[in-house]
Amino acid sequence: MKKLKAPAELIELRERILSQRDQDKLCIVTSVGTCGLACGAGEVAEAIQHEVQKNGLQKRVDIRTTGCHGFCEIEPVVVIYPERILYQHVTPDDVPEIIAESTIKRKVVGRLLYTDLTTGKKIIHEQDIPFFSKQKRLLLDTNRLIDPHKIEDYIAIGGYSALTKALLEMKPEQIIEEIKKSGLRGRGGGGFPTGRKWESCRNAPAPDGIRYVICNADEGDPGAYMDRSLLEGNPHSVIEGMIVGAYAIGSHYGYVYVRHEYPFAVKNLNIALEQAREYGLLGKNILGSDFDFDIKISRGGGAFICGESTALMASLEGKIGEPRPKHVHTVVSGLYGKPTNLNNVETWANVPLMINRGAKWYSQIGTEGSKGTKIFSLVGKINNTGLVEVPMGIMLREIIYKIGGGIPGSKKFKAVQTGGPSGGCIPESLLDTPVDFDRLAKVGSMMGSGGMIVMDETTCMVDVAKYFTKFLTEESCGKCVPCREGLDRMLDILTDITEGRGKEEDIELLKELGEIIDETSLCALGGTAPNPVLSTIRYFADEYQAHIKDKHCPAGVCKELINFTINEEKCTGCVLCAKVCPQEAISGEKKKPHKIDQEKCIKCGLCRDNCRFEAVIVT
């Protein structure tokens, strides 16, 4: 790789790469993001490599591995280009047939095609699958086109042209004006206007000229993995965004703080940074200009609180992740006391897109207060689990039913949780709420980083409140009293309620605690911690009452409040449940109805999971 000494050289390089590529050549693409690898995509990719070599097809067929395409439910996924024929749930055993049919015969392997849930029809082309076609995939779509280990792929699709435009044609103040005009707001959860943040950082006094830009890739919300997918699948979009931002702000040092649990993201980011440096897109005299900038990766140590900006900066300085009050904003005094601009991964990834297409184009997408698209991780009790990118303002109902395909097993929708542990649960009656920063906040939740967890009738909302509160008590840094002690006491009360010791006055006490923890906590972790509890009390008060008054869990989840019994009419006496019961609590002769000894039963649910006749009832 030769260092590019001028923007013209990048343009030449791009043309050269494109001229060496044949758009019509057969290409077999396997998606190998973490979710794909977790279900065997690695073995599938290896099998494809092996099969192509075995048949001597290297000259006729290109092979590419990419990051996550977003439809995690059907992984491992293999797509045949140029037709974009999509195969789902591929195993290494399917590979010889795929190679034979696609390469030699140019035919489709019918049994591996995606089947539409509503029509029952098979769909051949990736772009026709409703999950994809109903999204607006400005950012995520690129993942299928590039191998994150090859910077040339990114350059070929126009990568680093935003950087060229920024360095050549725009002044830093102009770039900031564009970002402001676009209406881009932070995608990490805070939703702060990005342009204003950059401007404040640029204008903050820096006597020694040192300013920092940071990419927050701590993504701690359980159930959210959008940033992981972007970093693994398209790290250059984030790098390019950071270089443009650093140029606009006047910074020469950048950090990407990646959470400990994302080793592949760190690996791919490292490779991308190395390749960018080799081409002179990072380091001294970027693209021959007089702008220097480089990026270091810092790994988190497994602490949710380090997603909070001041705790993140403390961690970068080698200290424990203790937040500090933001009376002086981090854009004025942040990392090492210098002006620091921190943005989320998705925010940075939006920058090249916005610079290339312009603020006017960008601001036409979305709503008045929330511009552009947002990536959500649609998970939980949903048919089409995966990452969805939609324009701001789309209704929750459309995401869950049209894109998500509704609830599996024809169970009833109960709630959708957004915003992670800082957010709230939204009930069925509010499904026609448009997804945008202000309107989600109005219904007692928030956009957050993008986690969207769907719950059905078998989810206990009191248990959900307890789950989030427990998570936060373990992740609290422990500095301030309301968060450390207050959340612990909220957890005590919720545990009592779920174990049958709830009292009438508990609801009022939870509300009072929640209000004061919100108002007096030092940082936003404590400040938003009561949201899951308060929103479930607001919308699911009847479930709380059932637990407290009737000592009953309507959803059948809270162990102390449920009973497992066997429906004698459905039981065939197959003895399977008795065999799997760890407490030997089930008795019965072969071919005769069985019975569960309630004294011995520990409510583990193994009998219900193993019964093939749905004879185990939970009440």
Partner: protein
């Protein structure tokens, strides 16, 4: 012991003996020894000219670090919300029963260590557990029992 001192010195040196890199230094030591030995932490404190309590405070704050030696097999259970609504608590209970330990502990024969993780980012496969870096998706109490029994037999 001298070998270990040299290893730790090399790690600290790799980061320019800089205090800011304390967390990265501890991560490298954790990777090398699978836990943070007391002698290593005291040496790091000396090399960085920090009171031992500051290094100890960082080592005990972050979940990535362990001050106790880990077992042969590390079993990590994902406690993310998506996995939780698909009934992870029942799976965790089964693992606790099968191994006789609770999260954070190691079995007496040093064969298994049990950990919990707040979301691995593989939500489509939930409930997910990871054993020795290998992902097991769509787990249930029954399935996990089989997997653990197979490992125990080895």
């Amino acid at each position: 012991m001298k070998n270990d001192c040299e290893k730790v010195e090399a790690i600290v040196g790799k980061y320019g003996s800089s205090r800011d890199s304390l967390i990265s230094i501890l991560q490298d030591i954790q990777f090398e020894y699978h836990y943070l030995p007391e002698e290593a932490l005291r040496l790091v404190a000396r090399l960085l000219d920090l009171p031992p309590i500051q290094v100890y405070g960082v080592a005990t704050f972050f979940k990535a670090f362990s001050l106790e030696p880990k077992g042969e097999h590390i079993v990590s259970v994902c406690l993310g919300t998506a996995c939780h609504v698909r009934n992870t608590p029942a799976i965790l209970d089964e693992i606790k029963r099968e191994l006789g330990i609770k999260p954070g502990d190691t079995t007496e024969d040093m064969q298994f260590s049990l950990e919990t993780v707040n979301c691995l980012g593989a939500c489509a496969l939930g409930p997910v557990i990871v054993i020795d870096g290998k992902y097991y998706g769509e787990m249930s109490a029954g399935k996990v029992k089989k997997v653990l029994r197979r490992l125990k037999e080895k």
